[in-house]
Symmetry: C2
Subunit: 225 residues, 2 copies
Amino acid sequence: MTRRTVEVKVSIDRSIQQSAEDIARAIRERLAARKILAINLISSPGSGKTTLIEKVIDALAGKRRVAVVEGDIETDIDAQRIRKHGVQVCQINTRSSCHIQPAQLVKALEGMDLDAVDILIVENVGNLVCPAEVPLGEDVRVVLLSVTEGDEKPLKYPLVFKTSDILVITKTDLLPFVQFDPEAVRRAARAVNPGIEIFEVSATRGDGLDSLLARIESLSAGKAR
Amino acid sequence: MTRRTVEVKVSIDRSIQQSAEDIARAIRERLAARKILAINLISSPGSGKTTLIEKVIDALAGKRRVAVVEGDIETDIDAQRIRKHGVQVCQINTRSSCHIQPAQLVKALEGMDLDAVDILIVENVGNLVCPAEVPLGEDVRVVLLSVTEGDEKPLKYPLVFKTSDILVITKTDLLPFVQFDPEAVRRAARAVNPGIEIFEVSATRGDGLDSLLARIESLSAGKAR
């Protein structure tokens, strides 16, 4: 009895997964038609996603029109922070969902003026597991890992590191005070994803931001071509 | 068509949820019969769960027999760390599950000598969302929040703070180097859970460990009565 029930659930989960992929593909086509670079930003809670987005917005002001979709279980704290930087922002509250669902992103995009956007940054719910399983039609998936989280994380949460294009090691200003070996992280990340690009950044101090910004600009230029 | 499919899924999810609660109840009864204090430890990846467990084991050596169940998506890195402290440990690899499932815990307990255990610590998968939804038959749910994660987290991830008995603010040795107001966290945590007990700890430096250990010992004594 239980067994049959679970089999039913699996087949339905597959159809929901399929439908999510269809929606993600539609999002990708819609953004591609407007030459918008879409970035899906994933990390644990508190790795510094919002702070990094704030720095990127300020650094690209006048050069690229950035818009942000904020995903959180509850509250619009992050959207309020982003709004102060004068860009379009939409807050999604995912409630019981541990990741942004493609359909939620579709609804968020409906409320935005996409003709006035060059780069769309989607800040996913703070979580290293569920968001990794769900494509949102992004061009680039970026995973953040702060130096306070431990250097074994790519081995313990392989999927998000395997499916990401870029790894940003954040909060490097705290390196003198924690046990964290950036080289060990590079090795571990490349063990699950040999092609992953890796940046080291202290968003609060500015270290390493220039090369990450240059990469984002070049990805955006590639879309606009 | 899609709508009907989703409705089917919801009803099956409910029956799975019910079954999970039944298993959790059975775990609770089994541990209670042996007067074992069961602690479910939840936090983001890298908030210091394993380090805290190591300190608790060493501090209680000779006073309480601690056993540990380690939950990780992949690897047995944490179980290897715990094993060095000379206690029973079982690693669960949850694979695609973002939390330990009650049935996985049952299987882990089958391989342990529960007659030689006073305190069972279950280290859940690093995640502030999914583990909060799933009872494991624990007596005490403990959520960790490190000072590097930001003081707004109880508002953004309310369920885990609402369902926890104890909040441990960890890595307080890093307070001078980050923007984090412990009082703001206390207020935010109590806004969602007025009865939550709050401790501040630096596991690496030892600050605040004594009062947390005293609380664990008193909870254990309460079970043994």
